[in-house]
C-alpha cells in the first residue's frame, strides 16, 4: 500500500496492511517532525509533493526492495500539508519471514525516499520565518540508484 494523504497517518492501519500469515516480523519506521531545525525552534511543517510522480517513485522503491530482499509486504504512507511538531510525517512497514530482510528493506526505503521521492518540506519557525528545507549539500552527488 502506497499512500499520500493530508490526514493524520493511521500508524496501526499501515502496520496491519503488511500483515501476512508467513510473516515472522514487521519492521516499522516512523518519521516524526522535530521541534528544532538548524538550531532554531520549529512550530510546524508543511509538506508538498509532485503527487503522481511521488506515488510512482514510492511504488518503484517498493518494487526494488522486493527484488533485493525476501520480504512479504511493503507499505509506505507519507503525509502532506501541515504537520505539527511530534506528529508522524512518514510510516514505512515491511513484513518478512525473517527480521534481517525487513530491517534492511525498511532502511533502504526511508534512505531512498529521502533522496528521490519528489516531496518538499517547508519549515515554519517560532521567530515567524518560513523556509523551504535546505538539503542542497546532502543532495550533491547522489544517484537515483535502482529507480
Amino acid at each position: 500500500m502506497i499512500s499520500l494523504t493530508n490526514e493524520p497517518l493511521e500508524i496501526q492501519r499501515v502496520i496491519a496492511s503488511v500483515d501476512a500469515p508467513g510473516a515472522g516480523g514487521i519492521d516499522v519506521f516512523i518519521g516524526t517532525t522535530r521541534d528544532v531545525s538548524r538550531a532554531r525552534s520549529v512550530l510546524w511543517l508543511e509538506y508538498e509533493a509532485y503527487e503522481p510522480m511521488a506515488s510512482t517513485m514510492m511504488e518503484r522503491l517498493a518494487q526494488v526492495a522486493h527484488e533485493r530482499w525476501a520480504v512479504l509486504n511493503i507499505s509506505i504512507a507519507h503525509r502532506l500539508g501541515r504537520v505539527n511538531v511530534g506528529e508522524a510525517s512518514v510510516v514505512i512497514a515491511v513484513s518478512s519471514a525473517h527480521r534481517e530482510e525487513a530491517f534492511a528493506a525498511c532502511r533502504f526505503l526511508i534512505d531512498e525516499l529521502k533522496k528521490v521521492v519528489p516531496i518538499w518540506k517547508r519549515e515554519f519557525f517560532a521567530d515567524g520565518t518560513v523556509e523551504w528545507s535546505r538539503q542542497v549539500h546532502e543532495q550533491q552527488g547522489i544517484t537515483t540508484e535502482g529507480v
Binding site: 518519521g31 509538506y47 508538498e48 509533493a49 509532485y50 503522481p52 510522480m53 511521488a54 510512482t56 507519507h78 510525517s89 512518514v90 526511508i110 525516499l113 529521502k114 533522496k115 528521490v116 521521492v117 519528489p118 516531496i119 518538499w120 518540506k121 517547508r122 523551504w132 528545507s133 535546505r134 538539503q135 542542497v136 546532502e138 543532495q139 550533491q140 537515483t144
Partner: protein, 81 residues
Amino acid sequence: MKVTLRLFSIAKEMAGFEEREVEVASGAQAGAVLDILTGLNPRFTDWRGSLRLAVNQEYVPEGHLLRPGDEVAIIPPVSGG
C-alpha cells in the same frame, strides 16, 4: 512547440507560478526550460546545479530531447521523510 512546465517548492517561489505552458524550439533539450526560468529570475543561476528535471514524471538528464506536449517538472532538492 509547447511543453507544460511544473514547478515545486523553492523553484515555484522563485518563478512566481506553479504551472505554465511554454514555447521551446523544436528538438529542444530539457535543460532549455532552465534557461527560460533563468531569464525570468536570475536566482535560478545559483540553483542550477541543484535542480533536477523530470519529463512526464521520470527523472531525465538536461540533454533529454523534449517532445510537444511533454510535462517538464523542475525538481528542487527533495526533503520528504
